[in-house]
Structure formats: structure tokens, C-alpha cells
């Protein structure tokens, strides 16, 4: 693992290769750091967010704000179930979505969703109404036509990252861990990465003059500072149900496939992975998800694409248009004098 300081290594790296690795095509989903010019990079890391065991506690949102010192986005009641955060933003890098869904009862009846067991400690009577967990009995009586969907969204740290491609200053760079990070001391707030991101993740930080990093593009760093010293990102560390799992991408992918199989075997046929496919439009995400419904239900794009893939064609069109303009001007003067 590199021992260089965050700032200097990041700048050198961004200056050296400027993310050109991903120019015009997909890079190796396992080695974007190598493609970006890192030598001896550690294995690529990421998040596997298993929404089937998310309980909507928002510990990830809080841990992220606390660790990264991010300001609030205002305290509003949004009228969208328990979600008063709304969306990922320049100041909010984890966002828990809440969906209250009516659907036929019993589709996932009595399925134990695999919450972590408390290790070998006998239950202590706390005077609560019951010691058993809801759903443990497998008894479907009293179930209603209702289910909760909860999902903690985050930057996807794409293999083909549109934000990194379009950044004109080199402020966005690929770290040795294969993640995508903004260098706060380089970004000039041009805002180009904001419409470029196919997931709507990155944004300029809005706030009073004097707010930390106000006006700059901001997003999840996958806790680059914690990774540097071998620690788990704050959100994954804080998640009480292991809905947010951190690890090397290869291992997370294996775990995710196993988990989908387990859920399918248990009758949860709607479980599917989102964002892990290297053949997808962003070349496979460093942060991917297990969802229980279509992505758009959670506010995620169904088929996101990094538009840089079309860039060679777009440059060709711009070249033709420019040539046409020059020819038109020459023709205008070549005409008769008057």
C-alpha cells in the first residue's frame, strides 16, 4: 500500500495520467487503479449494500456526516415516508431511501432475512413485550399487504467514471484503491461533473460563505483517509445489520451472488443485484447493491451509461461542424463583390 500523503500522491497521479485510462472505452473492472497509472496498487475495494437487511436506522448517514465533517442540508419534513434527507448532495454522501409498498401478502412470508446473530450471549429480559424477533415464528397471520423497502445509496465509484472523465482540472482522480475522489484543493467548482454523473451523485456544496468546501464538487470518498490507515469506511463500520459491507471487490461480488442465491432459494424471487455487472454502462460499480424491486423504485437509473463512451463520435461531429463553418465563411466571401 502506498504510504504517500493524500494530497501529494493524488496530485501527482492526477497530473500524470489525468484519468485518460478510461478514455473512450471500458477499463478492466478489477484494475482501474492500475489503468490509472498506479503501480503495486492494493486490490480494488468497494461497498456491497444489501438492502434486504437494511432497517432504515440512518446510522450510515450520521456516521458519514460525523467522520467527514459535512454540514447539514437543512432540516425539512419532505413527506416521503421516513426519508427527510431527500437525495445525495454535496453535503450528504449516504442517503437512506424509504419506500412503503402495497403488495400481495405473503410473498416473502416467514423468510429469515439473515440479520446477524448476537454471538453466544443469552437474551437478557429488558421488560420488552417479547424476546423473539418479528418473523421468527414463520407465522404469517396478521400480515398486511405492505412492505418496507429501505436502501442506503452512495457514490458508485464507477469503473468508467463520467465525473472523472469530464473533470477539466484533474481534481477528480482515481485512487490506488480503485475509488474516485475529489481533491478539495484543486477543484474550482466548474460543476461539469454534476450533470455528467449518470447516477446523480456528485454535486456542488451549497451553503453560506465560509462553509467548508462550499462551491466545490463533493461526494463520497469511500473514506480515503480511513482506507489509508487500513480502516473500514465510517458508514460500513456504523451499519448495525451489515447491510453495508466493505471489502475487496472480488470478495464482495462472490458474497453478493451467494446472497442472491440464498434469497431466491428462500422464495424471495425479486432479489437482484444492481451495478455489479462489468458489462453495464459504467463498467461495473465499486459500490453495488442487492435490491428487492426495480432500480427506479429506489430512485436509481435502470440502465446508466457514462456518456464519455460516445465522445469520439461527438468529437467527430464537432470537427465536421467546425469544418463546415469554415467552408461556409470562405464561400460567403468567395461570392461576388458587394
Amino acid at each position: 500500500m502506498s504510504t504517500q500523503a493524500f494530497g501529494s500522491s493524488g496530485i501527482d497521479q492526477a497530473f500524470g495520467s489525468s484519468g485518460l485510462d478510461q478514455a473512450f472505452g471500458s477499463s478492466d473492472p478489477n484494475g482501474p487503479a492500475r489503468d490509472a497509472g498506479w503501480e503495486d496498487s492494493p486490490p480494488r475495494v468497494g461497498f456491497f449494500t444489501d438492502t434486504s437487511i437494511c432497517i432504515g436506522c440512518k446510522a450510515c448517514e450520521v456516521a458519514c456526516k460525523e467522520w467527514n465533517g459535512n454540514p447539514d442540508d437543512g432540516f425539512d419534513l419532505l413527506g416521503s415516508s421516513f426519508d427527510n434527507t431527500g437525495q445525495l448532495s454535496g453535503s450528504t454522501w449516504r442517503h437512506v431511501a424509504f419506500i412503503e409498498q402495497r403488495r400481495p401478502a405473503g410473498t416473502a412470508a416467514g423468510v429469515f432475512l439473515g440479520m446477524p446473530e448476537s454471538p453466544a450471549r443469552p437474551p437478557v429480559e429488558l421488560g420488552m413485550p417479547s424476546l423473539s424477533r418479528p418473523g421468527d415464528s414463520g407465522d404469517t397471520d396478521g400480515r398486511t399487504e405492505f412492505r418496507w423497502l429501505m436502501s442506503s445509496d452512495v457514490c458508485k465509484h464507477c469503473t468508467n467514471a463520467a465525473c472523472l472523465d469530464v473533470c477539466p482540472t484533474g481534481a477528480l482522480f482515481r485512487t490506488e484503491f480503485g475509488t474516485v475522489v475529489v481533491q478539495d484543493d484543486i477543484c474550482n467548482g466548474c460543476g461539469y461533473c454534476v450533470p455528467a454523473c449518470p447516477y446523480g451523485v456528485i454535486d456542488r456544496r451549497i451553503g453560506e460563505q465560509g462553509t467548508k468546501n462550499v462551491g466545490l464538487a463533493q461526494k463520497c470518498t469511500l473514506c480515503y483517509d480511513r482506507l489509508k490507515v487500513g480502516q473500514t469506511p465510517a458508514c460500513a463500520q456504523a451499519c448495525p445489520t451489515q447491510s453495508i459491507q466493505f471489502g475487496t471487490l472480488d470478495e464482495l461480488r462472490e458474497r453478493a451472488v451467494d446472497r442472491v442465491q440464498t434469497l431466491h432459494d428462500a422464495g424471495v424471487s425479486e432479489a437482484r443485484l444492481y451495478g455489479e455487472d462489468p458489462a453495464g454502462g459504467t463498467g461495473g460499480s465499486g459500490a453495488f447493491f442487492l435490491l428487492l424491486d426495480e432500480p427506479e423504485v429506489y430512485g436509481l437509473p435502470p440502465d446508466p451509461v457514462a456518456t464519455t463512451a460516445d465522445l469520439p463520435r461527438m468529437w467527430k461531429h464537432a470537427g465536421l461542424a467546425a469544418a463546415g463553418f469554415l467552408a461556409a465563411a470562405v464561400t460567403a466571401f468567395a461570392g461576388r463583390r458587394r
Binding site: 485518460l20 419506500i99 481534481a171 466548474c190 456542488r204 436509481l300 464537432a318 469544418a323
Partner: protein, 320 residues
């Protein structure tokens, strides 16, 4: 949550984020195009001995590109760091490429414009004035050589984003923008030069305006669903105004522009206004298409379903 029969969203919230850009950016799109076309006219007028058109072209280009730079810097989240744009040259970033195109264009346009301004001064600048006189032609020609790129790269700037209406227009946008630039700068030439010098400006204006109208039609057909955003709200009003002004200006320029100085000036002004409406309209349409999840979700869902129906191996994320 299924709030709409045709597509699903999360409480109707946007999926992609609209650009954080203010009206500085469409203003720049217009001014950059105007500057580019004016440099071409200025250089052509210089070579073909049309002194008033030459002066108007060079001064217009200098003014338009100066205002462009102000708009571009103003729109940054940290204007004081605008020079960070010059840390790198990235072909994957249209904004980086654009920065270097403007860097190549600016000095030539500035020297040519300064030479014209110096001649207008009541005082003699001596050596500086003579140097500017000598440098004006090569500088103006250098600027004119880069000018077409100044006008066309902005099409790529907008379309290399996840903003539906901008990316869906990626085939036509560079062509639309150079046509619009030709119409605006041709109009500017008609507005500022006398009839016996304005012939080339008139031809450029009419050609640009007709091309702009034709390409805009084609673009609307090839965009798909997001073309709707060109017809609704602020964007709809602007695009309608753009068509009326451009068509009216083109007709006026073609039939009256060579005979009446007044008609030429009015037509020229109409073409400039039409071009500005096009830029602001396309900008607004994009912002609207990003804010409404429909334009992101529906085409992507259809694409996914088509791919599934096409018998391609469904990925795990698609498997139901």
C-alpha cells in the same frame, strides 16, 4: 410506490442532477458563437478589403469573447481558482479541450480587436500603434483559424453529460451551434457594416439561419422522448421565439437586406436574438429534462426491456 402508470420513480425526484450552471452558460454559448463568427467575418473582410466590416468583426469578436470569459469565470464555484483549468489537457473532458481552444483563440482575437480600437483613438499610440497595425492581420487570421472550433465544441460540452435532452441531441448539437453562430455573427455584420460591404455577412446570415432551422427540425426527430422538453415551459417559449426570429431574419436578410440599410439592421438584430433564444432554449430544455425523472427512467427502461427481449443474456441486475 407507483405514482404513475407509465413509469416508476422515487417520489417524483430527479434521478440525475441538473447542471448547477446559471444563465451565464447559455449567455456564453451565444457570445462564444458570436465571437467566432465575427472573427471569421473580420478576417475575410481584411483579406477582401472591406474596412468597416473588418473593424466591426474584430471589435465584435473582442467584446464577445471578453464577456464570455467573464461569464465563464463568474459561473465557477470558486472563481479565484479559474486558472486550475490549465493544469491539464484532457481529451475526455470537453471543458478542458474548450479551455485550450479558447486559449488558442483569445490572444489573436485580442490583438486584432486592440488594433482596431487603437485606430479609433484620437491620440497616436506611436510604436505600440504601429506594432498593433503590423500584428493585426496575422493575429486576426490566427483567431479565425481557431474560431470554428470555438463555435462547435460547445455542442460536445453539453452533450457529454447524462442530461437527457443534451445527450439525446449529441448528433446534431455541434451543427446546430455553428449554424446558430453563423446566423448571429452574420446578423451582427449586417447590423454594423454598410450595404456595400455586408454581402458576405448577409450570405453567412442567411445560410446559417436556414441551416439552423433545418438542423433543429432534424434534432427534434432524432432525440426521442426528451424532445418534449423543447416544446414545454420556458424552453418551449424560447424555441418558438427562436424559430420566428430566425425565419423572419433570414427572409428579411435575403429579400431586403441587400437594398435597405434599415431592413438589414432589423434582420440582423432578429437573427442575433434568434440565436440567443436557441442557446437559452436548449439550455433550459436540458435543465428541465434532468429535473423530471421521466426523461431518464423511461428511455432507459425501454432500452433495458428491448435488450432483454432481444434474447441477450440478461445480467443479474436485470433478472427478475
Amino acid at each position: 410506490m407507483v405514482p404513475d402508470a407509465t413509469f416508476t420513480s422515487y417520489y417524483g425526484r430527479p434521478v440525475v442532477k441538473p447542471s448547477p450552471w446559471e444563465l451565464d452558460i447559455p449567455a456564453y454559448l451565444f457570445l462564444g458563437g458570436l465571437a467566432a463568427g465575427s472573427s471569421l467575418l473580420g478576417a475575410g473582410a481584411d483579406l477582401s478589403d472591406r474596412p468597416v466590416l473588418r473593424r466591426a468583426g474584430r471589435l465584435g469578436a473582442l467584446a464577445a469573447i471578453s464577456l464570455s470569459l467573464v461569464a465563464l469565470v463568474r459561473d465557477l464555484g470558486r472563481p479565484s481558482r479559474f486558472l486550475n483549468m490549465m493544469r491539464v489537457l484532457k481529451p475526455t473532458s470537453p471543458m478542458s479541450v474548450g479551455t485550450w481552444i479558447l486559449t488558442a483563440y483569445g490572444p489573436g482575437a485580442a490583438v486584432a480587436g486592440a488594433a482596431e480600437a487603437a485606430r479609433l483613438l484620437p491620440i497616436n499610440l506611436g510604436l505600440i500603434g504601429r506594432l498593433l497595425d503590423v500584428a493585426a492581420r496575422p493575429a486576426g487570421l490566427a483567431a479565425a483559424g481557431v474560431a470554428p472550433a470555438v463555435a462547435s465544441y460547445t455542442g460536445v460540452l453539453l452533450s457529454d453529460t447524462a442530461t437527457p435532452a443534451w445527450h439525446d441531441a449529441h448528433r446534431e448539437l455541434p451543427f446546430l451551434f455553428v449554424s446558430s453562430a453563423a446566423a448571429a455573427s452574420g446578423g451582427f455584420g449586417m447590423l454594423t457594416a454598410p450595404l456595400d460591404e455586408a454581402g458576405p455577412a448577409r450570405r453567412m446570415a442567411v445560410g446559417g439561419a436556414l441551416a439552423e432551422l433545418a438542423i433543429e427540425q432534424r434534432m427534434e426527430h432524432s432525440m426521442g422522448l426528451s424532445a418534449e422538453t423543447l416544446h414545454t415551459g420556458t424552453a418551449g417559449t424560447l424555441m418558438k421565439a427562436s424559430k420566428a426570429l430566425t425565419l423572419g431574419g433570414a427572409l428579411g436578410a435575403a429579400f431586403l437586406g441587400g437594398r435597405s440599410r434599415t431592413a438589414a439592421a432589423i434582420s440582423g438584430a432578429a437573427l442575433m436574438a434568434g440565436s440567443a433564444c436557441t442557446r437559452f432554449g436548449v439550455f433550459e430544455a436540458g435543465q428541465h429534462s434532468a429535473k423530471d425523472p421521466k426523461y431518464t427512467v423511461v428511455p432507459q427502461r425501454e432500452r433495458l426491456n428491448r435488450r432483454r427481449a432481444g434474447g441477450n443474456q440478461p445480467t443479474t441486475e436485470e433478472a427478475r
